[in-house]
């Protein structure tokens, strides 16, 4: 599978102010920002690679390493913390055998620990891709992960 970042980049005007928008677009469609894309973008915008790299490493939404197929966000905000998000996080990380910010070996899941998802009423909450899973328990974590592993959840 080859990813055509040239196409995305050429969809934008040659102006410095589109740097972040282009990077976000590449991130969205490719899951991460490849080094070659950054170099190509630097040529296209006439911007030093160092500047683009600086932006790409500054924003948490942009990733330099390939992300998993599903992005799991575990909330560790106040409400979730109080309702036991700590144990949910531990269970999840143990299940996948990774640390926060990493991607599981099968390339299916990336885990991010975030500070609030704005769904405190559902605490403790876990978001997978764009789907919210509220009132999580240890057992629920396992069954939800299994569902994704068997690809029973789509979209």
């Amino acid at each position: 599978m080859s990813f055509v970042y040239e196409e995305i980049i050429h969809g934008y005007p040659k102006e410095k102010r589109y740097t972040l928008a282009i990077l976000q677009d590449i991130q969205k469609r490719n899951g991460f920002i490849p080094r070659e894309a950054m170099e190509y973008l630097s040529q296209y915008l006439g911007l030093p690679v160092s500047n683009i790299y600086s932006i790409a490493t500054f924003y948490k939404a942009l990733s330099l390493k390939p992300k998993g197929k599903h992005i799991i966000k575990v909330c560790s905000g106040t409400a979730c913390h109080i309702r036991g998000s700590g144990t949910i996080k531990e269970e999840l990380l143990e299940l996948l055998g990774i640390k926060p910010g990493e991607t599981s070996e099968d390339g299916l899941f990336s885990v991010e620990v975030v500070n609030c998802l704005g769904a405190c009423a559902l605490a403790p909450v876990v978001v997978i891709d764009d789907k919210y899973y509220g009132n999580m328990t240890k057992d629920k974590v396992k069954s939800v992960i299994d569902q994704y592993k068997e690809e029973r959840v789509h979209g």
């Binding site: 080094r35 030093p48 690679v49 160092s50 500047n51 683009i52 790299y53 600086s54 490493t57 500054f58």
Partner: protein, 249 residues
């Protein structure tokens, strides 16, 4: 435009910063990230001063504050001294073993709380960004700030040897804490994970610049002469001056 700094009447042009005016009048304002010829970065915050404009008083960073008519500036008040001490304390925690920061701390009688101090920390960089600015001014743009928060640092993309770097050493030259490592050894220079070949001075034979930096210099100056190092250039200029004066008498 007239203004008063520590009671001294100073003259400045519109658009000049307080720091520039003070420097020209020989008034010292402490700073780490200010360098003549560079626009102020306002990162180190040591150059805080108090500005009195009419009945309003406020504290500003003198390296970025454009002067105004009739303002009265005090470089050091008790409040500012306290602020500077706090800033130096934080810098000391950031670079606990840096000799320059330690000297500064000694001068201001600042000690960092031991429980926050890591005596083994060999960090020297205070993230002022002067090196990034210098690299930008050279037109090379090889280094930039990378990451953020506690992981923020200055580096080349992917920490690799940058193909944009010319090894000029401008970054190390401007660094207030001497945090950038330049290793010159037998005609080779190592900087930012890249090795450069150096050019010999055609007169004294000492290595003085990398091939890449020398090439850029030649292009900029449109100069095709034999490579001559700074010391020899100074000597030539001095000799010329001496000669021209010798003919007067």
């Amino acid at each position: 435009m007239k203004l008063k700094i520590d009671g001294i009447i100073c003259e400045g042009r519109e658009g000049e910063t307080l720091m520039e005016v003070a420097k020209r009048h020989g008034i010292h304002i402490p700073s780490l990230c200010y360098r003549k010829g560079f626009e102020g970065l306002a990162r180190c915050r040591l150059c805080l001063v108090e500005v009195k404009e009419g009945s309003r008083r406020r504290i500003v960073s003198s390296c970025v504050y454009p002067i105004k008519e009739n303002i009265e500036v005090t470089v050091t008040t008790d409040e500012i001294q306290r602020m500077r001490k706090n800033i130096i304390m934080l810098l000391l925690l950031k670079a606990p073993n840096n000799s320059y920061i330690n000297k500064l701390a000694e001068e201001y009688k600042v000690a960092a709380p031991e429980r926050y101090m890591n005596p083994l920390d060999d960090e020297n960089c205070i993230l002022c960004g002067l090196c990034v600015k210098a690299c930008e001014k050279m037109g090379t743009n090889a280094i930039s700030f990378v990451n953020r928060g506690i992981y923020k640092k200055v580096s080349t993309p992917y920490d690799d040897a940058s193909k944009d770097c010319i090894g000029c050493g401008a970054c190390a030259e401007v660094c207030p804490t001497n945090a950038i490592l330049v290793e010159d050894n037998e005609g080779k220079r190592k900087i930012w994970n890249r090795e450069f070949n150096m050019v010999k001075c055609s007169l004294c034979g000492s290595y003085f610049a990398t091939e890449e930096a020398y090439k850029l210099m030649q292009e900029k100056l449109n100069d095709n002469e034999e490579p001559i190092c700074n010391e020899c250039r100074k000597k030539i200029a001095a000799d010329k001056l001496k000669e021209s004066f010798a003919n007067i008498y």
